[in-house]
Symmetry: C2
Subunit: 238 residues, 2 copies
DNA sequence: GAGTGGTCTAGACCACTAT
DNA sequence: TAGTGGTCTAGACCACTCT
């Protein structure tokens, strides 16, 4: 474990345990240097991460303070370390997540998909439509496109479980990041039928582009979520 | 301007101008050290920021690459530098943004507000309900709570324009960060009436807590957005 | 093995806050 | 003016990729 990570985790834990409480001042960076036996830059990096995570606030000239967070929010931030990238199989670990496959085929990429995945004119992509169920209840309907050039030999069985596991564990490709756009609209016919929603009733629409560690986009997906189990949380720093 | 910021801006500009294109490899960090006459750590910090912004990808052992972004997305990321914190008056600069005030009063804080703003039992808060119009069309309905202890002497006229400007320019307080939760539901009676929406039609609900640079929460707000002008974009790094 | 980016240091100097 | 965190450096050493 890297030093700055270990220090960040330690301080996060102390905030979680109430050793450092909301509005408390943290020890000075010079004191932290001594207690952890590291240089100034290393302390700074650890605190930078905690600041980006929304846990603390730094003020040049004054000191470093735990944010005045409601205890609920504090718990969330100290436990799940930052944002989730990977599929629901991980997010809902412990629950029963099942996929029903409505489509699994290879097609020539539609214009929007071509643009998002930076593909040539007549590139082939997988076109996968799945409904995800959590403990038997429909959660979301996902339409996903992936170029066959990057993800060879994807099978229906992978889509039934976790496509992301196949990509990482079998193809040994690293997922580096995702770009997301969240919007809202009424459910269309397919969505209302497959998710047992009234037509036109509210759904969250999340469009995502996923990138590999070499910078190439390998997945463009549009997921509509049933409202009761959808919440997206972010922290914005000025 | 700080060196690492200047370098980050310069490289962002070069990506925007197409000097570095999607999938291109950037110059090696050692070369960048020479061209900008700075140390390794300074180059690293500049690139770290561009990576967090979703523009580039770094691979130890291989090099640094521009992400394979669709040209639309590239433009967005290179121009608006990262996420927005501050009120609509800034986001929609150039457009005509007007507020209609439905409520402007001081009340004892409800339980949820007390928790979010970490207030004592019978603290007073402003309770402000506004409808925001963009070029004459209703955009959102915002219910906002702020403790009178932190924000003294707020007037109706401030709510009519920008509360954030009052806080920054008059009170000289710095807004450091915001925590956001986005959800979806059907419009209630007030929302449908004030925003000319069918009852139960989809709206985005954003709950936000804003923090000052001393770590204190000073504003808790619940905003419901009409769907046509709402989109929230985020970049997630593994 | 040659080459990439990453971590960490010790210390000089800077920018901001408080009193 | 004392004390806070921030920037930047030059260089040692490390972890990973690719051939």
């Amino acid at each position: 474990m890297l030093k700055y990570q270990a220090i960040a985790n330690d301080i996060r834990q102390k905030i979680n345990d109430g050793i450092y409480k909301p509005d408390d001042q943290l020890p000075l960076t010079s004191e932290l240097e001594n207690t952890y036996h590291v240089s100034k830059m290393t302390i700074k990096r650890a605190l930078d991460h905690l600041e980006a995570a929304g846990l603390i606030v730094k003020r040049r000239g004054s000191g470093t303070f735990v944010k005045g967070l409601a205890s609920n929010d504090l718990d969330k931030l100290t436990q799940h370390s930052s944002q989730q990238l990977f599929g629901m199989s991980k997010v809902f670990a412990g629950h029963n997540v099942v996929s029903k496959i409505l489509a699994f085929e290879v097609i020539t990429a539609p214009a929007e998909v071509m643009a998002k995945l930076r593909l040539d004119d007549d590139s082939f992509v997988y076109h996968i439509v799945r409904v995800r169920f959590l403990d038997g209840k429909p959660l979301s309907l996902e339409t996903s496109y992936m170029p066959i050039s990057l993800i060879p030999d994807l099978r229906r069985q992978h889509a039934e479980h976790s496509i992301f596991s196949y990509i990482r564990d079998t193809l040994h490709l690293n997922i580096q990041s995702a770009h997301r756009i969240v919007q809202v609209r009424g459910a269309n016919e397919l969505e209302s039928k497959e998710m047992s929603l009234a037509p036109g009733s509210p759904v969250a629409v999340v469009r995502e582009t996923y990138f590999l560690s070499n910078g190439l986009p390998f997945n463009y997906s549009i997921t509509t979520h049933e409202p009761d189990h959808f919440a997206l949380e972010t922290v914005v720093i000025a």
